[in-house]
């Protein structure tokens, strides 16, 4: 598979190879049964021919291309763009806080690898994928497309990301929701270091527009465990006042405060029918993605499914 890939920065052949035939199963947007994974609820709405596929038992008789049968004496079915694809939009938070990394990989770098890999998986199952990068405002928006060439554009966009401080995540999610014209599968990759209510407002807007939302909460292990010892000066990455302190003395407070935030965030996601997953940047990407996909397979009746 990897030898056919274009030269990209954020697609690691090893990761992709380990992902194998995993598919990003999207519920709600793609419903029903086709031979593949998805059946569009918008059947007949779009008639844009995509390509032929050899007939398989279970395919609609009406989709058989009799002309081709007449020429070749074989059954082929016609596949249409809107019938076979779902739209996936990956939102990458490129705010300055994402630039933190206790190891050699920052959260933003990790997010870029994650976004590229997800885009590849979506494209591989012949669905459409788009990308939006935001910080204090929406920097880039690439509408979903199913052509393989979109991966190069995604790669370029990711490469050109320059982190800047953000103000409100809710505002960016509102703006992005306005840009998306079709119901879509939205994957938000962010550290979500903002007000929980603000975040939830943004997520609710997306859900209100009918999008299926998955939050990949990207965190550095030092942010999770706060293992600092000694005397440290913490310089805020988004313009906060620096703090010189002894982390061992404030560790308990930090972990308690961080825990409350995480609980509130998860509770908010559940309440908004948003799938939530914590991404620890110290974990290998391939392992994380495999676990994510398998988890999605096994939780088809997850919080989003409960939505009427």
């Amino acid at each position: 598979m990897s030898e056919h890939l274009p030269d990209t920065n954020y697609l690691d052949p090893k990761v992709l190879q380990s992902l194998g035939d995993l598919e990003l199963v999207a519920r709600e947007v793609v419903e029903g049964l086709r031979v593949g994974s998805h059946r569009s609820p918008l059947r007949g709405f779009s008639t844009e021919f995509a390509h032929h596929r050899q007939y398989s038992p279970g395919d609609e008789i009406r989709d058989i291309d009799w002309r081709v049968f007449g020429r070749t004496d074989r059954y082929y079915t016609k596949l249409y763009e809107a019938e076979t694809n779902f739209d996936c939009t990956i939102l990458v938070d490129a705010s300055a806080s994402m630039n933190y990394g206790s190891g050699k990989v920052s959260k933003l770098e990790y997010a870029k690898f994650l976004a590229a890999s997800l885009a590849y998986v979506v494209l591989k199952q012949r669905d459409s994928v788009g990308l939006s990068v935001f910080d204090s405002e929406v920097r880039e928006y690439l509408p979903p497309r199913s052509a393989m060439g979109v991966i190069l554009e995604i790669d370029r966009l990711l490469r050109d990301v320059k982190p800047t401080p953000k103000t409100s995540i809710a505002k960016q999610l509102h703006d992005i929701a306005l840009m998306m014209k079709r119901r879509s599968f939205v994957i938000l990759i962010s550290d979500l270091f903002s007000d929980v209510d603000d975040i939830r407002a943004g997520l609710d807007h997306l859900r209100h527009d009918g999008h299926n939302v998955v939050v990949l909460h990207t965190l550095d292990p030092y942010e999770i465990n706060f293992p600092f010892k000694g005397t440290w000066q913490f310089d805020g990455m988004e313009g906060e006042e620096p703090l010189t302190t002894q982390p061992e003395r404030i560790r308990d407070d930090y972990l308690a405060s961080f825990g409350e935030y995480m609980e509130a965030l998860k509770a908010g996601c559940v309440a908004s029918h948003v799938d939530y997953t914590t991404v620890d940047t110290s974990r290998p990407l391939d392992g994380l993605l495999s676990e994510f996909f398998h988890l999605r397979q096994s939780t088809l009746n997850g919080p989003s499914a409960a939505r009427p």
Binding site: D12, K14, V15, S18, A96, S97, M98, N99, Y100, S102, G103, K104, V105, K107, Y110, F113, D191, F193, D220, P221, E223, P227, F228, K229, G230, T231, W232, Q233, F234, D235, G236, M237, E238, E240, L243, T244, T245, Q246, R249, I250, D253, Y254, S257, F258, Y261, T281, S282, R283, P284, L285, D286, G287, S290
Partner: protein, 721 residues
Amino acid sequence: MSFLNPLLLFAALGVALPILAHLLNRNKVKRTDWAAMQFLNRSVRIRSRQLRLKDFILMCVRCLAILLLAAALAKPFMEKAEQVPPGIGESRAGVIIALDASYSMAHSDGTATRFERAIEKIATITENIHPGDPVSLVLLGAEQQVLARNVAFEPGQFDELLLDQQVSPESLDLDGVPETLKALAESMDAPQKEIYLVTDMQARDWDGQAEWLGAAFENLAESASTTIVPVLGGGDNLAITGLELVSGVLREDTVARYRATVRNFGNNPVTNVRVEGLADDITVDTKTIPSIAPGASETVSLFAHFRNAGPVRISAELETDSDSLAEDNTRRTVAIIRDKVSVLSVEGETDGSGSFIAAALRARGGQSGQENFSVQSVPWIDLPSQDLANFDVVVMQNVPDITPEQASAFESYVRAGHGLIWFAGDKVDAAAWNKRSALDGLPLLPAVIEETVSTSDALGVGRPLDPAMPDHPVCRPLRSLPEDLLSETRLRKVLQVKPAAGSSTVLSLVGTAAPVLLEHSVGRGQVFMFTTSADSTWNNMAVTPVFPMVLQQMVTYLTAREFETSRLVGDSLSLSYVDQPDASEAVFDTPSGDTVAVPVLEHRSHYVAMLDHARESGFYLARVSLQAPGLPVAVNAHTAESDVRSLAPADALRRFEGTEIAVAQSDADLGDAVAQSRGGRSFWFHSLLVVLGLLLLETVMASRFPKKRPKAKSNPTTETT
């Protein structure tokens, strides 16, 4: 303030390390960008000035700890610490105790021995020693025995060690004491060093010391504070100072006369001194000396009748219950009784002059002695037919010459432990004998013959023997002869000789000192050479009592065995073998019943087993192997220690007047001496405690300012789960 190990002060250079670390880490608060600022509790803030101050305090604590550690390792002490408040520093010292264990220390005044008093003195000294301080204990005798060298003082163990010690029947060798004590003091690692020499200050050792020995003691005082602790006692003592065989051929059924010398070392006359002679622990003779004046010696003759062949333990004992020193009340020797003595008389001419020799040797034999004492006379021309190994002694008189083979045979004969007596005469070919006896470098005869000289005066009367004789077993009976009887012996003609190296003159002529009888050793045997004839042609000796006395003494002497000579405590005991023995070890049984195995060593084709140091007085038993019969060896105490008089207190003080050496006559003096020598204080232990405290403080402070965090490196894309 001084330092015991000043070189270790260089460790103070280590102070650069914390300063360097401080400079390198100055203002280095670790910084990091941080995204999750909203979760940090901003109430706990550290200001940079506060950090700098704490870092500086930490650096100071570390520097101080290193400086104090270097000082503590260098072991600081003050020699004069009167100004130092009590509680600061310790009054520590390394102590060397030298205990005189020569046998004069066993002298008792009726209540306690000097050695027991010395132990009490040492207990007073050790009361002032801190546990853990270095201590050395030396036992002084013929050699210095270091029982403990620089050991940490532990009162119980030290007392046990002290109580295990006993007086040795050895004399004190004072000459080596300063050197030994100085070496011990120099090897001792202590801020102040003290030497205590506990001794009875025997007058013979301490009075009139050699100048160099006095200087050596003064030199010793430079290495350590030195105190002599005298243990005084009475001076009365009676001792047997000698026991020797005077006359008699040691063979079966003969009587031998021994002479015991008793000396009164005390200041009062002693009366009715009974001396008992014992042979194999059986009393054979008892004599009483009516009176012995102070400082005088008296001798008694003790007779022993030997009825059986073999070794006999001979001893003389004082019969007294009240003597204050028991060790020297007994003197011992060994007689090895031969079952048969054979003498070969080789005569240069057959005119009957050889009969003088046979008659002289048989003079006291009596009828019963004829069977085990044989004298065979042969003309010199028959010499080749004789097997020399059958004879104990060969007497050659007026033999003109011998062949080189015979000369070689005689040399081997003597080397094997036999005796040769050579008489001059008219027929002696001087040049031939000089040539024959000069084989292989070592001459057979003890002198080179030059010419015959006349020693008679104008009236034809010869010259008598010199009554001044050495203390040689051969001339011992002659010394007790009346002078007029001795002067009856006249020598008219003698050979003028040039004594060889290693030879000694036993008898000589009065006036000219011309040798009459010479002796030297060849291998394990002896050769006697008379420069006069054995008949009456050159002298009248053969017809005087001197001739049989000398001849018999010579035969006894020449047939004596190695162990008949008594030894002194401290001497080595050796067992010689003619051939290589079967057993690889010889065995010595000590008087106290212990058994000591000694390896047999080869030295120039001779095999010898040697016990290096006889430590007890009494009869040792030497055996060639564990199962072999033993040969007794008499070991006596050195009589020099019998003179137990000590230096008077005033003399003792005068002896060390003007030196750094103190003499502690009483316990109060000893206490003063200890206090004076402990004027200094040692600070290393307290310094170490302060260092430990500082390190603890540093640990507490540093734990509040730990160092760098470990930084984990990860690559999310290349690691695999």
